[in-house]
Structures are given as C-alpha cells and as structure tokens.
C-alpha cells in the first residue's frame, strides 16, 4: 500500500504544475472563510499506569460534533463554524477569543495595506465526548490589495503555535494536559464599500 502511495505521489508530482481551477478564495455572506486547523496533543495515564499521548485535530472535533463528511471547521466572522457544501452547518462550535496586545497597519502602493496584530488567544471546545481549553500567543495578519473594478482581494492568517491548557475525555474520564497549535488562513475578493 505504501509503495503504491509513494509511486502515485511521484506520478502526481509530475502534475504539480497542472493548473487548479482558479477560484476567488472562499467567502460566505461577503465574509472571509478561513479553514481552521487545530493540532493538539494530550497526555493521559492508561490502565497500565503508562503515560500515553492522544491527538486532537479539526477532524476529531467535526466527528465529535457529528458533522457530515467533507465538512470543514472554519474561522468565519470572528467565530468558529462548520461549513458543508459552502453553507454554514453550525456556528460557534469552538470558542475563539483574541486579546490583542499590539497592532499595526502599514499602507502600501495603490491602496494596499497590511494589518498585523499580536496577543493572547484562547481556544475552547466543550463537545459531546471531550473538551479542551488552551491559551497561547497568537499572530494575526490581514492583507488587502487596492480596489480594482470595484473589488479588492484580501488574505487572512490567524495562528498560534504555542498553545497550552487542559482537556477532558468524558468517555474515559481522563483529564489531559494539552499542548499544540491552531492556524486559520484564507483569501477572498470583496466588493469595495
């Protein structure tokens, strides 16, 4: 199986420059949709008194929520939503708070700008079978181009790579120290006001 995958990767690698259907990024209701990648590692002591690690990703959260297959966890309108087939399936499924300490805007040529923000972020999830509540220093960047033909393009990146906190697995009744990261990035075109 591995050999097949490796060979397929090579074959596919030859098509690395094959064009992807051009898309204007992802937006819903004229708001940026940035897929959220959660990557956490928790530790617990198992029945044999051994410390064991367990991972939590966005897919685990989607599974726990019972979201339809192919759903995405996204950062959208300052909250975390589940989207499926470009429609919002559920919103506010994960708490996300950003306490800004510093911010700055740099203006470039032809109306372009870059906004950066740093501070302390909190990511919390209280699901059907597990919870976590983690904090870490975050970095947020919003870049936009000047207006052309009544529209402008923007990109967003919101991430923290130093999350720590705790978690709980309700099924096993385990409390878990948790470390990890989250990242949300997206792009889109928006009408100029």
């Amino acid at each position: 199986m591995n050999k097949i995958i490796v060979n397929s990767v090579l074959a596919a690698g030859l098509l690395a420059f094959a064009p992807i259907q051009s898309q204007a990024g992802s937006t819903i209701d004229q708001s940026m949709v940035s897929p959220l990648q959660v990557k956490l590692v928790g530790q617990y002591v198992n029945g044999k008194n051994k410390i064991v690690k367990v991972t939590i990703t966005s897919k685990d959260i989607l599974f726990d929520l019972g979201a339809p297959k192919g759903s995405q966890l996204v950062y959208w309108e300052n909250s975390v939503a589940v989207i499926n087939n470009k429609t919002v399936w559920d919103n506010d499924v994960v708490g996300i708070d950003a306490n800004s300490y510093t911010d700055n805007t740099v203006y470039g040529n032809e109306g372009s700008s870059k906004y950066t923000e740093n501070g302390l972020a909190n990511l919390s999830y209280y699901g059907n079978s597990f919870n976590f509540d983690v904090n870490g220093v975050y970095n947020y960047v919003w870049k936009e181009t000047g207006v052309k033909n009544g529209k402008y393009s923007a990109t967003e990146k919101f991430h923290s790579s130093s999350l720590t906190g705790d978690g709980y697995d309700a099924i096993s009744d385990w409390s878990l120290p948790v470390t990890g990261s989250f990242s949300a990035s997206g792009s889109g075109r928006f009408p100029a006001n």
């Binding site: 995958i5 990767v9 090579l10 596919a12 098509l15 990024g25 991972t55 939590i56 995405q72």
Partner: protein, 191 residues
C-alpha cells in the same frame, strides 16, 4: 616451388582478409557503440536502448526541495514586455492561495485519491504550498502518509522542513481522540 607458391597465396589471402576486416571496422558507425550507463530520469524514459527507467525518490524529491527559482504557476499569454510585474505577482499569489484552499478541501475528505493529491504537493516547488501540504497531511489523519513523510525528510536538506516532516510523521503515529473513543466503545460493547 609448388609449396612456396601455395604458402605465398595463403599469406596473401590472409593479408587481404585482415585488410578488409580492418577497413570494415573503421567505417562502422559510432552510434553502434553501446551506451554503458545513462542515469535514469523521466526525461530519458523514451530511450529504450538504455538502462530501464527506474524512478528514484531521490531525484524527484531533491528536485523539489532544491532552492531553485520557480516559475509562476499560471502563465499569461501576454508578452512579458507589456505585462505589469505587480499584476503577475498578484496572480502568482492568488494561484498559491487557490492551491492552499484546495488542500484545505482535500484534508476534510477520507478517500485515498485526496490523500495522494495532498502528498503530491509535498514536493511542490513553492515552499508555502509544501508547508500547507504538511499541515493538510496531518489534518487528513492517515498513517499511510508516514513513510512518505519520513522518506521526504531523509532527502530534504532544509533543517526546518526536515523537522516539520518528521514532526508530522510522529504526530500521525499517535492515536487520535476519535480512535480512542472507538476503542472505548468497542471495549464497552464487549463487556
């Protein structure tokens, strides 16, 4: 006298034969000389007379991780002299964003074709796309990706990228919360 004549004729015949063979060798085309070693690569695939083509991971991966300048992913038809450099850069940027958005879509799926599509981007010439592909591989949550990640790490010279690939492989080796849940449910049902 008769013996001398016979020996002379035989000698003359031999000299003539060697002469013909020597001239024939000189006039033989050079291309008939066999090629002893030709490095196999996709570009030599059509040369059937050479060594059979064996695709080596090293070649593909090293080419991918080599710090060479990369052409834009979308090439416009307009002549370079009239194309605005800023517009091209913006188009290139948009193309990278589109690929990353595509990776995000693929990571939410479960099928082998989506995994292969993600893994193929681990060797993309754009470092930003390769980094996104590593994250998408993690989010896809398939252990089939581990040997690919380890193999690429072994052939990557960039220490940061090497570490990211190894970290991703280590992450995927761990059980997921969903798997733990499934094990617990199974154990509960058996009791």
């Amino acid at each position: 006298m008769r013996l001398n004549t016979t020996i002379g004729l035989i000698m003359a015949g031999l000299v003539g034969l060697f002469g013909i063979l020597f001239l024939k060798h000189l006039s033989a085309p050079i291309s008939q000389t066999p090629l002893l070693s030709v490095s196999a690569s996709p570009s030599t695939a059509s040369r059937q007379e050479t060594k059979p083509l064996t695709i080596k991971l090293t070649d593909a991966h090293q080419a991918a991780v080599a710090p060479e300048p990369t052409p834009p992913l979308i090439v416009t038809a307009a002549p370079p002299s009239v194309v605005d450099a800023a517009a091209l850069a913006e188009e290139h940027r948009a193309s990278i964003q589109a690929r990353i958005a595509h990776l995000n879509e693929l990571e939410s799926k479960d099928d082998p074709a989506s995994l292969q599509a993600i893994l193929s981007e681990l060797t993309n010439p754009e470092i930003e796309i390769r980094a996104a592909a590593i994250e998408s591989t993690i989010q896809f949550q398939s252990r089939d990706a581990i040997p690919v990640l380890n193999d690429l790490a072994a052939r990557t010279s960039d220490p940061n990228e090497k570490q990211a690939l190894l970290d991703a492989a280590e992450f995927l080796k761990l059980p997921t919360m969903t798997e733990i849940r499934a094990q617990k449910s199974k154990a509960g049902n058996l009791q």
